[in-house]
């Protein structure tokens, strides 16, 4: 029992606090996207140009984050790395969402056996530990940007497929859809007019939350040497070089890790804020 408390102030603090993270997330994401788009204008040096004379230099005014083993400017490689991260993240989200969407819809609307078959397929895809699956594929076809994209699409289909299926099922059995059906609307119309807009919100939130995982996975595979091929500058390959030279040049680890952490945090904060905004129930409960 509270005798008198100032709920109003707490509410304001709470909202302000949450918004700060959301705004920060948004700014980070914007910064990352902009630096990926304008990377060519930002970078002071060609990120893949070799300059053996100036190899393994520490941070200085001419090389903000120093140079790597081959004398390449680390800052330039770091900025270019954001482009690779986005080159992986965007097509994978798009691909996984599209396929997940189709599968989820078919499962939700189709006959029972098809539903079961799709669920089994999604469960199977989900049952591979992601990195292990990725390594198996890389072992077969060799590492490349396209392989990474393929792997991430396949392993994130189940996430979207399940959500779309659940949403489709719940919307399908809701009263307004039943009313539509009884009035003779076609399945295609119901799909387009009602289900698509209803699923869009959760999928957008889910995608925002998945992007940090995707970027992390790409960097991870590149770190293992199983992702983007050299000399393409990826944050993961920066980290790899930094790891092999961990006792000499820690700035390589900083250049690969810090933007990676900041970007994943940015997308996560953005996704969280987005989720709360989409779901007012959640906002109230916390």
């Amino acid at each position: 029992m509270i005798m008198k408390q100032n709920n109003e102030l707490q509410l304001i603090i709470k909202h302000f606090f949450r918004n700060i993270l959301g705004v920060a997330g948004f700014l980070i994401v914007m910064l990352m996207v902009l630096s990926a788009i304008f990377a060519d204008f930002i970078v002071p040096y060609d990120p893949i140009a070799l300059n053996i004379k100036e190899r393994l230099q520490g941070p200085s005014f001419s090389h903000l984050l120093g140079t790597d083993q081959l004398g390449r400017d680390i800052f330039s490689r770091m900025v270019m790395g954001s482009r690779v991260a986005l080159q992986v993240a965007l097509p994978t989200v798009f691909g996984a969402v599209s396929i997940g969407f189709v599968l989820g819809m078919i499962a939700g609307f189709g006959p029972k056996w098809l539903d079961n078959a799709i669920i089994l397929l999604l469960d199977t895809l989900r049952s591979f530990p992601t990195v292990m699956f990725a390594l198996a594929v890389v072992a077969l076809v060799g590492p490349s940007l396209e392989t990474v994209i393929f792997i991430i699409i396949v392993t994130s289909i189940p996430t979207y497929g399940r959500v779309v299926r659940t949403q489709t099922l719940s919307i399908k059995s809701s009263e307004f859809i039943l009313a539509e059906k009884s009035m003779g609307s076609s399945t295609a119309r119901i799909l387009l007019v009602h289900i698509l807009p209803n699923i869009f919100g959760p999928i957008a939130v889910l995608s925002a939350m998945e992007i940090p995982t995707i970027i992390g996975l790409e960097a991870g595979l590149s770190f293992l040497g199983m992702g983007v091929r050299p000399p393409t500058p990826s944050w993961g390959s920066l980290l790899n070089e930094g790891y092999t030279l961990i006792r000499n040049t820690p700035w390589l680890l900083i250049a690969g890790g810090v933007p990676l952490i900041i970007t994943t945090l940015g997308f996560t904060f953005l996704g969280e804020t987005l989720r709360d905004a989409v779901d007012p129930k959640l906002r109230k409960r916390n």
Binding site: L125, V131, L135, A136, F223, L253, F269
Partner: protein
């Protein structure tokens, strides 16, 4: 209850069978042939033919799959390309290291996560709750291999407190534990955040339920209400999540094993990919898939046993 267990187990078997089949289909639908990839520049037609035959790749796909299954059931996953040793025993040597790492990680992260989740739920909406919330999200978002790298850089290279590489002397338990600290810390960290969030949310939900009001209305000690009456229920979703966590940790362990040069399944796979030791790669991937499926199944079953309501319904 028995019916549920049987149902859940048969689903697990079905998924494993499907996963193996899927891997095979994938191998064969991928452009180019695995044998060339494996042999790389060394590939000569003779070498290719002999390897294909040894691996049974010249048989039609269904035959290969059936062949693989019958072998797999008897524990035969093929032989190492170079040493001709059974893949099963090679993997077996490495598996214990990975499992030890995973158990250590999940244990400390679950304990700390549950504690922090309870704490946040009790201190709901205070400053410490909010700080913990931001920390949890940050832990979840940060890729585990970056944590591995930075903790290696800071604790081993910079401070020199903990050993940087290896799994320790196999006869010295203390040495092994010391070597386990950084890898387990690195891959468990995001799970601390994950479990803390989950426990907080489910604690808040349970604490608002009527039976908790009853417990409080009888003046039961606060500790009892929280730990015996609420946490016992709030922890149930965590058990399911820990099962799923095994899969994520199997992935994360790959990075930790590389970064800390620890023996284990992940390091084995990476090394085998570099040496194009194809049967070892596939065997390890399959085994880790099976471990993952078994652990999710087990956690579902344990969950059903701990929650008397589920047990009776099914």
């Amino acid at each position: 209850m028995l019916g549920y267990i049987i149902k859940r187990l048969s689903l697990a078997v079905l998924i494993i069978v499907f996963a193996i089949t899927l891997l095979f289909v994938m191998i064969h639908s991928i452009p180019g042939d695995p044998v060339s990839t494996m042999l790389g520049p060394r590939a000569t037609p003779e070498l290719k033919a002999s390897l294909e035959e040894r691996m049974g790749l010249n048989e039609p796909l269904p035959v290969q799959i059936a062949y693989f299954f019958t072998n797999a059931i008897t524990g035969n996953l093929g032989t190492d390309v170079f040493t001709n040793r059974p893949v099963t025993s090679i993997i077996g040597e490495q598996l214990s290291y990975t499992l030890m790492l995973i158990f250590a990680s999940i244990s400390w992260s679950a304990l700390l996560g549950i504690f922090l989740g309870c704490y946040s739920a009790i201190k709901r909406n205070t400053i410490s709750d909010k700080i913990l919330a931001v920390l949890s999200v940050s832990f979840i978002a940060t890729p585990s291999f970056v944590v591995s790298l930075y903790s290696l850089l800071f604790f081993s290279v910079y401070l020199g407190w903990l050993p940087a590489i290896g799994a320790g002397d196999s006869d010295d338990l203390w040495d092994q534990l010391i070597h386990l600290v950084l890898p387990a810390f690195s891959i468990g960290l995001s799970w601390v955040g994950y479990i803390a969030r989950l426990v907080r949310a489910s604690m808040l939900e349970i604490m608002s339920e009527n039976h908790i009001r009853t417990a409080r209305a009888f003046g039961l000690p606060r500790r009892w209400v929280i730990y015996r009456y609420a946490l016992r229920l709030a922890i149930l979703p965590t058990i399911t999540v820990i099962g799923v966590g095994m899969g994520f940790l199997l992935s994360a362990a790959v990075f930790a094993e590389i970064v800390f040069s620890r023996p284990g399944l992940g390091k084995l796979v990476i090394d085998s990919i570099t040496t194009r030791n194809y049967p070892v790669v596939m065997g390890s991937v399959l085994l880790s898939t099976i471990i993952f499926v078994v652990s999710t199944t087990l956690s579902d079953i344990i969950n059903a046993m701990l929650d008397p309501r589920i047990g009776r319904q099914l």
